[in-house]
């Protein structure tokens, strides 16, 4: 688990084989983090060797749960197997995918404050005066 100044980013490594049973176990493990306020999760898929439709459904369910609570779920370090299955099921376009967990964690702390900072700067900029 990694934390920044505001809210924690939970990084969870997915098991090598994600089928019906392991997907349920995994969901049970991450459920407490999903039910927090504005959860920030990163799933590390570097170890995944076998991912089936149940695993993909579980990922979508986690993302949906996170979005319901105004949070987000990002995927990191996809193994080739995971990447091919996500492409096959057309779900890779639904997730933010990063090369490493570090990049994914950084994206939580970097992107939103920057956007907010820009808005803030625009608001504070003095109106242009005619010469």
């Amino acid at each position: 688990m990694s934390t920044n100044s505001s809210r924690p980013v939970v990084v969870k490594r997915m098991p090598a084989r994600v089928d019906g049973r392991t997907a349920r176990e995994f969901l049970r493990d991450v459920q407490p983090f999903l039910t927090t306020d504005r959860p920030q999760l990163v799933f590390d898929l570097s170890q995944v060797q076998r991912l089936d439709a149940v695993g993909v459904e579980m990922l979508l369910r986690c993302m949906s749960e996170a979005h319901k609570r105004d949070g987000d779920l990002k995927l990191a370090a996809l193994s080739t197997q995971a990447a091919v299955v996500l492409e096959l099921t057309r779900t890779e376009r639904l997730f933010e995918i990063y090369d490493s967990s570090t990049d994914a964690i950084r994206s939580f702390s970097g992107f939103l404050p920057n956007a907010m900072r820009l808005q803030f700067m625009e608001r504070r900029r003095p109106p242009a005066t005619a010469a």
Binding site: D52, T80, V84, V85, E87, T89
Partner: protein, 371 residues
């Protein structure tokens, strides 16, 4: 002149052709295997008897059968010895010339010119080259055994003492899934001399006999759908994709620049692109990786039941007497099940309903208007 063809398909290198059930030479590409295509080209060049010697790695997938081609599975450990003995048998049984071709490469050498060159130069062995690159096609006179023995013992590697025939023609390696896809693309874009196996449904779209294309399915040229393949509603086959025989593409799935090997079923709502799909695996060409998929909702074998259903349907179509008997029986059943027409007074029991004359309708029907 007795000229025979010997096509050799050695065992596939597992490290190189990962994800494919057997050598690409024995897998369908736009309706025919490269081995069949080579054999057909040999037959067109006037070579009557063609033998395909392949390692007995037993392809599980159904392959098409072409008349006049003899398939001879041999033990992969003793492949070259077996090939040599088959070659010797050809020589003993009267063959004057044998065209030996190993399918590590698919090449469209002009066989007639090669044979003529061999005869003109009275060579023992003539090695074919394509655009100055050696290909594994040899023309051999079996009467002089010594040279032929060295050819097989060196696994068809070229020797300086062989005559060289430099011809032009299409050539592509045939080892990996990428090679299989390249050949499919080249056949469908008509870069090769050989053509897709079946007639064109419309320009650039080939569909085999017995293929089931549901109403809302889209086939965008160039594409190929093999015999008895099924493309369900909403599916899209595009960009040189090849759905081989008995394969099935389920509803809403997009197949783009991909090959579905024979008998493979791909599930609903998927996106197969730049890949070769086998019964339990996908070879991703973009990632150059093979991924095993155990989930039959994504990919698996097409149900054998659908094959048997089709066979039964075909049998029923042939059995005219049975069909007529069945139709008569069904009509009799319908007559027995039809209710007796009720009297008009009972039918008009509801005062709000107005009965109209029913002269134009059949006796069992009437028109009623709500007032």
């Amino acid at each position: 002149m007795d000229i025979r063809g010997l096509i050799l398909v050695p065992a596939a290198d597992k490290a190189q052709n990962k994800g494919l059930p057997c050598s690409p030479a024995l897998l369908d590409v736009a309706g025919r295997t490269p081995a069949e295509r080579t054999a057909l080209r040999m037959q067109q060049a006037g070579i009557s008897a063609v033998s395909v010697v392949h390692a007995a790695e037993s392809p599980q997938l159904p392959t098409g059968v072409v008349a006049g081609i003899e398939y001879q599975p041999v033990d992969s450990k003793n492949f070259w010895q077996a090939a040599e003995s088959i070659f010797s048998h050809m020589g003993n049984s009267g063959a004057e010339l044998v065209l030996v071709c190993a399918l590590h490469t698919y090449s469209e050498i002009h066989f007639e010119k090669l044979i003529q060159f061999h005869l003109d130069h009275r060579a023992l062995i003539t090695h074919a080259h394509c655009a100055s690159q050696p290909v594994e096609v040899f023309c051999v006179s079996p009467s002089r055994r010594a040279g032929a023995e060295s050819l097989f013992r060196s696994h068809l590697s070229g020797q300086p003492q062989y005559g060289i025939f430099d011809g032009a023609g299409y050539t592509t390696p045939l080892v990996t899934a990428q090679d299989l896809r390249r050949l499919a693309t080249d056949i469908l874009t008509l870069r090769t001399e050989t053509r897709p196996a079946f007639a064109q449904l419309r320009p650039g779209v080939w569909v085999g006999p017995g293929a089931l294309i549901e109403k809302d399915a889209r086939l965008l040229a160039p594409s190929f759908v093999g015999a008895y393949a099924t493309v369900r509603a909403g599916a899209v086959i595009t960009r040189c994709s090849s759905v081989e025989q008995h394969a099935e593409v389920d509803c809403g799935t997009i197949v783009e620049n991909s090959t579905l090997l024979p008998g493979v079923r791909i599930g609903a709502g998927l996106d197969l692109s730049h890949a070769v799909a086998g019964p339990k695996s996908i070879v991703s060409l973009r990632r150059n990786a093979m991924v095993e998929i155990a989930d039959t909702r994504l990919i698996g074998r097409a149900s054998p039941l659908s094959w048997t259903r089709r066979l039964r349907a075909a049998g029923a179509a042939v059995d005219f007497r049975g069909a007529i008997r069945q139709r008569l029986f069904r009509r009799r059943l319908e007559e027995m099940a039809a209710p007796e027409p009720a009297p008009a007074s009972a039918r008009a029991a509801n005062a709000n309903l107005e009965i109209e004359p029913t002269a134009e309708l059949s006796p069992g029907l009437m028109a009623v208007r709500r007032s």
